[in-house]
Symmetry: D3
Subunit: 227 residues, 6 copies
């Protein structure tokens, strides 16, 4: 967030196989599997429902109302990447629309996560190019100021390094540091496996109170029942 | 909102027949029928569109970022209930997801109204288990602090007593005190009946100005027309 | 925004042919074609997705929590109009629902843009009567205070004069002064034409950096690449 | 929150002596002493800094943009009361100014807590009549709709019954049910006493880690130190 | 709000004598005297308490994050003016600080009203140059895009024409159209006069219920008292 | 933001002399001197006006509603430090009050910057211990979950590393990476020097248009004057 006017071309991306495995789980599961860290703020919403993607971050730092660097970042996209855009101050203008989406897709991007606004929602929905943004806005932006590409950025309250794994779905966006992608994917798989069994029990009417053995700690904490 | 660590097991629920009748009307109609009181704040939104439910409230008071009591309340659910969760301070974390939804459904709950966040939106949509919440968030919660079950709570600005009737749809959530459920259902039915006739007139081009005889009071208030 | 208790019956509407042409373009395109002015704030959202309309504004000024003047404005609607409602202070109450929608449609209105709340979302969706609003709320309003009809109003941060062209879609709402409708439609058409060619190039993998000849100005601004 | 058009003249006020004792402690202390319940939302701010009051609630339910009932509640004020005003829907209009403050003071009110807007800040500051509100707004209100006086209301997310003890200072507003006022005052006094000793230790450089014996539970929770 | 790149040098300012008289009244009084129109949104707050000014508007339209036009508007300031700045999209960056304040003051400006952010609060306080803004932010802005000077703008939800009278104090900001300044000053004076008498009665314990003769209309509306 | 349950005891603090020099400039100047990066979001406000501090960051990561780690971080404070607290999800509860302030001060802390709530405002003001926070709230917090101390955190949208220089005043909070503290202090000094000269010219009536030689670029951009 502190370096302006530079584009890092070589970044270390999270291992593809691990990222692909993360793609099978939802954001909530990955977030839990990582120990409840890495979640972007819940104001980040998908512009259309139903998308779920996992990829590697190429990052870009923008200035408010200026999308010049989105053209710069396009060149650094490799297939399987997700562009993650931070902004130096809050601004909900529409930095991104269908033309940039066409370009990003041609480079192999899976989607965009932007701490700003987005437009051309109808086109993006038809293209199936998912965007998570803080706002939908037609407000056009200018091309006047240098930010940076592939530096560490903050997006929606979370720090993102280039190459980190990103998972996004209807529940929001979670960041997994590149070095932890495999470990988190393992933990998510284990969690998912155990959840299947739990779900079956709960569906059969077993209470979480019993399944998680909560009655004793609740009583110790002082919970009392009144008829 | 003032009593912690207690679960009331016996509550007086609104009469089933009246609640079932309320289910036929929308939230806007019920709210008007009740005299324009009882509406939760409009930040409460359904996690997917199209659901409409009416049921009896089992209430739960949570602390910010702590969903322990959601397991406690599960045991108190009877078929036809809607869980209504208040929180002692604003916090949009994801207190509720598909596992708890599975458990609540197994107990007969029709849905959840929570003045906090919710996750697993995709699963909830597939299950058809409707939730009205102030946010969608994957942020996990802890199980450390006692709240209460079936005490009066405030949820989204409205006081709710256990057993009150709750109606929720795409327009929001309205609360009807248990003792007034029948009377409000009657008033809603009357309102709905009269609205059909009005709708037909308006569709035929009759103006509300004439149908509601507003021209005279408007003129008396001083309204003037300029050509 | 300063005159109360008056209804102007004769307004000069933007030329129909120009408005019809504007209807072919999205809000983002029209906003750009007009020079990036005229956009309402992005908190204005459609109550259901997918609608796109263009029409001429009949304006109404409301007081908070009072929808009396919506009945007055109904009489001034001509086919092809869009009602634009400003409010003298922020209030998200539900000023508008299916009965008024039925009346507005019978008069030929294409939709409503209201800097307040709206209800009966399910009915509006079924009717296909689009509304852009700042909130969805069932809160009923009263009929006690005079506003005005067809005076200049501010709606969601933008000034609107009666007769102005309004374009609204999933990206928001843009206002085009009546006198500029033809010129903006021309500019939008030119922009749309040029965008088709650009889209094809970008889809083929050409970078915006090259297509827009940005590399030199970026270098002059000091952008540097690090391997 | 559900009964309109009624004024309850006889209410049971919290014991004066207990309320007077509560006045010696700050809101934070009283809130903790009560078990961390009863706090209004933090958007409630004093219109000028430095005031601290404790009194008994006379409650009033208003409609958005309508302050008629503030004149009705004035008559029900007894010396030592604090008026607590809830509104049936969010609206930041200026319901209260120096004239009403003059009237309330003449009746013996200590201040006002209102889940809406307030005006005449300069006059209120000069008078020394404290108000906690969600906004400062000059927007005038009307007198058209009946609310109620001395029914249970929700104000800033907290339920308040007529007669409850209210404590308000720069930290916010807390509600103490009338029946618990003495017990909470006792607990607050005990807490305050113990805090003096703690403060002295901390000022002398003793760490909370040691004073509260946290090192062992932290280690058990897994905290590790890295040099 | 629709014309870019133009500076109008000759504007018709509200009559000085009327503006000077408006300066004697608070914003709340002027707003009421004008019929409850003209008030900017309550998010506009003074950067320090206690200022009260009245002057004539010179207007400027800015783009988000760009303060170039504040230098252009400086040249158009005459003694007694207040600069009113609208922005084409919400952006809380710090457009204005002590250097511009020094320049504006040298030209005779009484203050600034800006629908954006402001910085150098300490210096502005020491200078006694009052600013009403939506935020305090140190975020620097650029000088890249043309707005306009002395066109009609929207500022904080209210339309302002160059030359309009502006009154601002701790209660907010109100706009009085130039042509109405004298009439509104008269009405404000009348209101102020009558308020003095009312204040004395209320201070003596007379109730608004009696002074305004509200008991009968309240009873007719159905208000009932319960002992 | 990704590592839980660890306390780093040895951190590299920004050079004291450079930090002391930064203390002489305001946040706005330092932010500009650094190239317009490093600013926290403007919702961060001081709990009382007039404080200005510069120090070195000791960082702490908290969970929503849990202040346990504030006791852990206290031990890591050295004289001249400022504690910077990030939270894993938005929560405005009151994590910090006069007891912790007493402890922090005893350790030599200059102040606290917390992306959460703060209480005991009156005591903090009397002590002169400055806090920048997102809210003032009496809501008590628990001590149940491990965060970390002296890891990189995000606070109010900005990434902060342990040892970074922090400058805070009435305009907000800016972060200067430790390695850049001297360079930024130099740039701030140069900027401040040049501003003195500019201020004098502007005060004498010279326009920014002339002083900054803006007339030509404005004309080239197309600005036109109309009489």
């Amino acid at each position: 967030m502190y370096e302006l006017g530079v584009v890092y071309r070589n970044i270390h991306r999270a291992e593809r196989a691990a990222v692909d495995r993360l793609a099978r789980f939802g954001v909530a599961t990955v977030h839990e599997a990582q120990g409840r860290v890495g979640l972007m703020k819940p104001y980040m919403r998908p512009v259309y429902p139903g998308a779920r993607i996992a990829g590697t971050a190429v990052t870009v730092l923008l200035h408010p109302g200026d999308n010049w660097m989105l053209h710069v970042v396009a060149e650094q996209i490799l297939p399987g990447d997700i562009v993650v855009a931070g902004v130096t101050a809050d601004c909900s203008d529409g930095y991104f629309g269908d033309l940039l989406a066409t370009s990003f897709r041609a480079r192999g991007a899976l989607g965009l996560v932007i701490d700003g606004g987005c437009r051309d929602v109808r086109d993006l929905t038809e293209m199936g190019f998912p965007v998570w943004s803080r706002a939908i806005s037609s407000k056009g932006t200018i091309k006047a100021t240098l930010g940076s590409v592939n530096i560490p950025v903050v997006c929606a309250g979370m720090s993102v390094k280039p190459g980190d794994a990103i998972v996004a779905d209807d529940d929001g966006v979670v960041v997994v540091p590149a070095a932890r992608a495999r470990e988190v994917a393992d933990a998510a798989a284990a969690r998912e496996a155990s959840e299947g069994e739990k779900r079956a029990k709960l569906a059969a009417g077993v209470l979480g109170l019993d399944m998680y053995k909560m009655r004793e700690p609740l009583a110790q904490a002082g919970l009392r029942y009144v008829d």
